[in-house]
């Protein structure tokens, strides 16, 4: 199996039924910020939902990032770790380098309809293969092995997780070492 350099992308959907401190703060604050920012495109209150707004006021597409600002510090407080996406041992959360915020849907009169996503993308990872339903990846921490082996970790495949970039790496043969 040929190793590859990959990045993974995980899409965390947050809605009214989400639990957890981070998710609750993102939900509450992004909804209030949506209410505030949407007014610029909806002064007459002709539209209730984000979908309606986008259809009739295409510039409202900028609400994705304008509302995203409102939760920027919460994402920063994650310390570069994707919430809830851990290795097979359940110990280490998957790191992310970049993220962006997306409003899936919202409604200025019904907060239950508010639904957003945070899309996290990892730094480049070395992928060695798939074992069962898990990705075998090279660990960034190689400090505890000195026998020539590479430290690895395994990551369960799961909904909302995708390989978002792929670059084949040359196999290192004994001759090429």
């Amino acid at each position: 199996m040929q190793p590859a350099q990959i990045t993974l992308t995980f899409r965390q959907v947050i809605n009214a039924s989400s639990t957890g401190d981070f998710e609750s703060r993102v939900f509450e604050d992004s909804y209030i910020e949506f209410i505030m920012q949407a007014q610029a495109y909806n002064q007459e209150k002709l539209y209730r939902t984000f979908s309606e707004l986008k259809t009739h006021k295409p510039k409202s597409n900028s609400l994705h990032y304008k509302v995203g600002f409102a939760v920027g510090l919460y994402v920063q407080e994650l310390g570069g770790r994707i919430p809830g996406v851990k290795d097979s041992l359940g110990v280490t959360a998957l790191p992310f380098d970049t993220h962006h915020f997306e409003i899936i849907e919202s409604d200025i009169e019904d907060r239950q309809q508010h639904q957003v996503a945070i899309i996290y993308t990892t730094p480049p990872l070395t992928w060695l293969g798939v074992v069962g339903d898990r990705l075998l990846l090279v660990s960034n921490d190689q400090s505890y092995l000195n026998n020539g082996a590479q430290a690895t970790f395994m990551l369960p495949l799961q909904p909302q997780l995708a390989i978002s970039s792929y670059k084949a790496l040359q196999l290192q043969t004994e001759e090429s070492r």
Binding site: E28, Y31, I35, M36, Y65, F69, G72, L73, Y74
Partner: protein
């Protein structure tokens, strides 16, 4: 009366935001007392609380916002610019409006905005995920906010400007722009950091968006030892 209408009516009669907050606290206390079976005032106890959207709107303080900050330059190069904006209430004889949220945003010295993929004289720049030139602050007891930034550049078709929005509570009161004096722009764009882009051909009077609003949208800008200071009053 629904709470949002109550808030709006207070704001329209120019009660300042701290009063709004107090009003909301009082409202909450009375509601809590009702729920707890307490002895709130008779008129309050006999009137059901109006239904409204949930959420702690009056308490929302943009606490998770990545742009709730004074320094909005994000280490972008440019001549320092202090931005001082005062918000006043027309309905109260231009008294200061306290605790209003002021959002501002402007381009960098080369005419590029954060948050977008935008094209300019240096080519296409992907500034998604970047925040430079964007900030929000809440007005203090004399209705002022302060930001530290850099003097903005320009892009074709527009005079040099800032964007601003004023919110009270969660209500958007005003979306506006702030123009800079042409003579100051010319001096800045002749300095070493800005000269590569040259002078902005769109002066204030040639800008179709702002030319008819200069009476209220032109800021005062002064130079103090190489640092520029912008002051502007927004009346709502």
């Amino acid at each position: 009366m629904e709470r949002k209408n109550f808030l709006r009516s207070l704001a329209m009669t120019a009660i300042s935001a701290p009063v709004l907050l107090e009003a909301c606290k009082k409202d909450s206390k009375e509601t809590d007392a009702l729920l707890a079976g307490g002895t709130a005032k008779t008129e309050a106890a006999c009137i059901p609380t109006d239904p409204d959207m949930a959420g702690p709107y009056p308490l929302y303080g943009s606490r998770g916002s990545a742009i709730n900050r004074v320094n909005i330059a994000d280490n972008k190069p440019g001549i320092p610019l202090n931005i001082d904006i005062t918000v006043q209430s027309v309905y109260r004889g231009c008294a200061p409006v306290t605790n209003a949220r002021v959002d501002i945003w402007h381009c960098d010295k080369d005419g590029y905005y954060s948050g977008y993929v935008n094209d300019g004289y240096l080519g296409v720049q992907n500034n998604q995920g970047r925040l430079f030139g964007r900030g929000l602050q809440y007005t203090n007891s004399v209705g002022k906010v302060h930001f530290a930034s850099i003097y903005p550049g320009w892009y074709p078709g527009r005079c040099t400007h800032l964007h601003a929005q004023i919110f009270i509570g969660t209500t958007l009161y005003l979306t506006t722009q702030i123009a800079f004096p042409d003579a100051i722009n010319a001096a800045v764009y002749n300095t070493s950091q800005y000269i590569a882009h040259g002078q902005n051909p769109t002066t204030n009077y040639l800008d179709s968006i702002i030319s008819d609003s200069l009476a209220t949208e032109l800021a005062t800008v002064t130079n103090s030892g190489g640092v520029y200071n912008l002051s502007h009053v927004i009346k709502i």
